[in-house]
Structures are given as C-alpha cells and as structure tokens.
C-alpha cells in the first residue's frame, strides 16, 4: 500500500513537472522545473532499488547537464522571444493528434503484452559481489568493458566537438 502511494505521488510530480517544462513561457523557469523533474525521477530510482543510478541522476543530470542548460539560457539573452515568430506551415493540432495516437498505441501494447505474459522470471545472476553499486561496477568492468570504453571515447569526442563548435576562432 505504501509502495502504491509512493508510486502515484512520484508519478504525479514527474508528469506534472514535465508538463510545466514543456508549457512554461520563461525558459529559465522551464530549466528549474527540469531540475525538480530529475530529482523526482531520482526518487523513483531509489524506490526501484537502484540507489547508484539515483545518485548518478542527481550528479549528472540535476548537477551537470542542467547547469549547462542554465548557462546557455543566460548567455542567449533574447530580446525577441522565439514564440513570437510563427510559421504558417506548422501543424500543431495534427502534431497533438499524432502524439495522442502514439500514446494510446503504446498503452495498448503495454497492457495487452502484460496480460498475455504476466509472469516473467529470469534466472538469478551469479555475481561475485553484493550491493547495488558493486554489482553495477562489476558488470561495467567485466562483461561491458568495451561498451564502457566506447562511452568514454564518445564523451571525449563530444567534449572536443563542443569546444570546436562554441569557440569563436581556433
């Protein structure tokens, strides 16, 4: 029961702040709502027995990425808001209709898929370590070592690319 109350509360906050992020006029407010949304998602991760991911979510998303966004919003100080300019070819209603159709479709797939195969069990993993952080680290440095190194290369390339793009002249 307590689990259900926690889930519905967190879900309401996550969806509410997500809607605020998308609908708020002021970009700075939108970024701040994004921080709150990420924090509630982190709380959901704690509920799902993933405390390491919750900490990473707070550190990387709420700490790093959002500060980057705020930095850009402050640099790009707009006199003319982007929403003032309107494109006559834009089909907003069609977009909403399409998004609603996709949501209904996804919901139908989720519900019907769960009805057909309700009991999914997997063999327990035999990891030589216990504890969430230790298990994630063990997998990252054994079975998933090459993807891990590729991810680090990706971050290096992104860092160099961001510097090249944002620098005035090299």
């Amino acid at each position: 029961m307590a689990h259900a109350i926690a889930f519905y509360t967190l879900a309401a906050f996550i969806l509410g702040f997500a809607i605020l992020v998308v609908t708020t006029k002021d970009t700075v407010h939108s970024v701040l709502f994004l921080v709150l949304d990420f924090l509630f998602v982190a709380a959901l991760y704690v509920m799902l027995n993933a405390p390491f991911l919750a900490v990473i979510q707070v550190l990387v998303y709420a700490g790093g990425i959002v500060v980057l966004y705020l930095f850009v919003v402050m640099l790009v100080n707009l006199k003319r808001p982007p929403e003032a300019h309107s494109d006559p070819h834009r089909m907003t209603k069609f977009g909403f209709g399409l998004a609603g159709a996709v949501l209904i479709e996804l919901g139908a797939i989720v519900v019907s898929g769960y009805m057909k195969a309700p009991a999914v069990t997997s063999p327990a993993q035999n990891l030589p370590v216990s504890g969430n952080t230790e298990q994630v680290g063990w997998l990252l440095y054994t079975n998933y070592l090459i993807p891990f190194e590729i991810a680090s290369m990706l971050l290096l390339v992104a860092m160099i690319g961001a510097i090249v793009l944002a620098k005035r002249e090299l």
């Binding site: 259900a4 889930f7 879900a11 996550i14 969806l15 997500a18 809607i19 992020v21 998308v22 970009t27 949304d37 990420f38 998602v41 799902l48 993933a50 991911l53 990473i56 979510q57 998303y61 790093g64 990425i65 980057l68 966004y69 850009v72 640099l75 790009v76 707009l78 003319r80 808001p81 982007p82 929403e83 300019h85 834009r90 907003t92 977009g95 909403f96 998004a99 996709v102 949501l103 996804l106 919901g107 989720v110 519900v111 769960y114 999914v120 997997s122 327990a124 969430n132 994630v136 997998l139 990252l140 991810a151 990706l154 971050l155 992104a158 690319g161 961001a162 793009l165 944002a166 005035r168």
Partner: protein, 101 residues
C-alpha cells in the same frame, strides 16, 4: 492493487509523449533539447523498472550508458545552439532552415 511493471511502462510512455509533444510544439530550441532529455529519462525509467522486476542489474548498466550519451548530446547540442545564436541572434527552430532542401 500492487504496482506492476505495467504501471512503470505507462508512466514512461506518458513522459515520453510529453517530451515528443515538447519537441513538436515549441519553437525555442533550448526547450526542445530539454524535451529530448525528458524522453531519455522515460527510457531510463523503463530500463530500471525491468531491472528491478527481473532482479537483474544489466538494465542499470544500460541506463548508465544512456546517461553518458545524454551528457554528450547536451554538450554538442548546446555548442551548436551557441554557434547558431552567434550567427543569427536567434534560437527559433523555424529560422534554422539553412540545410533544408
């Protein structure tokens, strides 16, 4: 009524659709990038819900990769926004038509 993976998948689908609507409706490219972050978060919720349901940590490992890719995407995307703003004094997605047919 117990909380099943279906609940998490519906939450994830709703968050995903909110992100997609943000990408399609807004004209401010910074908000479009934030909507993409919401979409990636929806994916992570799904991965971690199944990781919990199946008692298998691999889902969390993939969520770590998704977060790394999101960080790289944010850095490069914001670099592009700054470069564009320097040239055109605008962050309106409708004015970014330089490479459109």
């Amino acid at each position: 009524m117990p909380i099943t993976p279906t609940h998490y998948m519906l939450l994830s689908a709703a968050l995903f659709i909110i992100g997609v609507i943000g990408v399609m409706v807004r004209r401010n490219i910074i908000i479009i990038f934030m909507s993409i972050e919401l979409i990636l978060n929806a994916v992570n919720i799904n991965l971690i819900a199944f990781s919990d349901q199946l008692h298998n940590v691999i889902g969390q490992v993939f969520a770590v990769f998704v977060i790394a890719v999101a960080a790289a995407e944010a850095a490069v995307g914001l670099g592009i926004i700054l470069a564009f703003y320097r040239n055109k004094e605008s962050v309106n997605i409708d004015e970014m038509n330089l490479m459109r047919w």
